[in-house]
Symmetry: C2
Subunit: 309 residues, 2 copies
Amino acid sequence: MTVLSLHQLTCFLATYEQGSLTAAAEELGYAQPSVSEQVRALEKTLGVELFRRVGRGVVPTTVADELRPHAERVLGSVEEARKAVQSAKSFETGTIRFGMFGTARLYAGAGLVADVLARYPGVRVELIGQNSTDVQEELRRGRLEAAMIAVPQMGSEGLEFTPVARDELVYISADPARLETPVSAHRLSLASLVMPETTWRAVDSTRLVLRQMLHETGRNPQTRIEVEDVETAVELVGMGLADSVIPRGAAEQLLPRLAPAAGWVSLRPRQYDTLAIVHRAGATLSPAARLMIELATARINSIVHPEMG
Amino acid sequence: MTVLSLHQLTCFLATYEQGSLTAAAEELGYAQPSVSEQVRALEKTLGVELFRRVGRGVVPTTVADELRPHAERVLGSVEEARKAVQSAKSFETGTIRFGMFGTARLYAGAGLVADVLARYPGVRVELIGQNSTDVQEELRRGRLEAAMIAVPQMGSEGLEFTPVARDELVYISADPARLETPVSAHRLSLASLVMPETTWRAVDSTRLVLRQMLHETGRNPQTRIEVEDVETAVELVGMGLADSVIPRGAAEQLLPRLAPAAGWVSLRPRQYDTLAIVHRAGATLSPAARLMIELATARINSIVHPEMG
DNA sequence: ACATGCTATAGGTAAGTCCTATCGATCGTG
DNA sequence: CACGATCGATAGGACTTACCTATAGCATGT
């Protein structure tokens, strides 16, 4: 026993409109017995006579009159579905979802959304990045296809990283005396620090850089305060409660707004943080993801120093 | 290359809701590879990735998010279509079309509609019978499945007739003097008559009866006025412009309303008109048609003398 | 490292799709 | 009234699709 199908409805409608199986077959590009078979199958699945075979041609029954608008609605909905998918595929509509967290969002957050909307006015944009833990989870679970981040080191836990830019790490403080000369490893080891990205502390690239820097002096980094987001860290610096080390792009954006009294100075030797695309290892990226990567990279490179090689 | 199908949408929705091909297969009662194949086919026909295969389970893409409501609408419409057909099949809704013309509608017209609506409150009823020519055409073309008529003789032009009742033919006049005794063939041949059913005059059963009756006297019927419907004939009789011969049931219904001054009397010998079901020869009747025949027969038998054997 | 739970693949059978060829019935015509 | 034209139904066969079982491959959690 066959089941109701779109093909049957198509043949039914063509037959209804043409009043003839032969004409319907011609319209649909089939042989006449094929259409006849489909209509008969539809009548069998519905258990009702749709056409009265009357000498020359066929005549719809009242049940066929009843069915026709429904059949039209079904086929119309199918067409709408197909169009919706096609337009979503070509970014005329639909949603583009991308991860953007850590300090990366400071560089490419709002501006990246603007870039996407300028090029594809119909799309919705979801920039996922409330907190690092969630984003990591979404990436791992596959709900997020790709993300741009500033923090973790390369190659952890089945994820694949592609560096796109680097940004200098600077020392920020509300005490002008500490900003007169570049900060050495020794001075850094004595400082009282507030550091963001607590959740990612084990893999945070800023911390990794600092650890390597301090390792040469035989000391561990002194983090007096741990917070989750950079804004909070900067505010604490502005209040004079601690100093911190953050990417320069973040300092330029956040200090005037959140800590007007604070300033920044380079480390000595200069250290750099890496911005990278991260996605599941071995994944082939969708057009939407590739688009976001392209736009995000372009925007970041217009702010920080582009990665060489 | 396969084409978009309802089956694919069903599998897609189940997979979307379950977040798993295996779970979807279990829900649908299929083996897992079958659902997998359908989803893959849908992705191929749409040319887009709907799920990201990620280790344990599958995760819908944003295009799948876009497709889901459309797929639900399509399947919903299909369900509606199926329900509409089922309810039309069982007379809960839909249209019942039946032919009812000649003088038959005087007996069973409004009352028959009332009978149908009393038993099946949801249906629409179409009682086709504006004029005999149209109805004959609709029957021949198959648009009308069956009809109940009072006029034509049996067995003409590929149609099949089934008698269900007979009604006495009576002589009507506005002149009381002509109603004192039953009208003989001789008196009838002298009368000035108005006769309805002009279009069917060659096969009209009333006229056939009269012709046979008069043939015995060697005369032809004298129709002074020809009209299409019985009401007009009765009105003319009421105005004293002519007399007529019509079924008794029609006389009882129409005289008080349209010709209060007129009355009726039997013929001598009494003559009878036949009410019959007519449909295309060799046709198998639909439930709707059988229902109408049953109800029409019951109603007519409650008015005129039932046909014996 | 192992068991587990999921998807992908392979291969075979049943069923459906669509064709060509032909029959039967109907309708208009000479 | 026989004729050709037209349309739907039927038969039979080539091809495709649907669906199954069995199993491999991979990711995940203990």
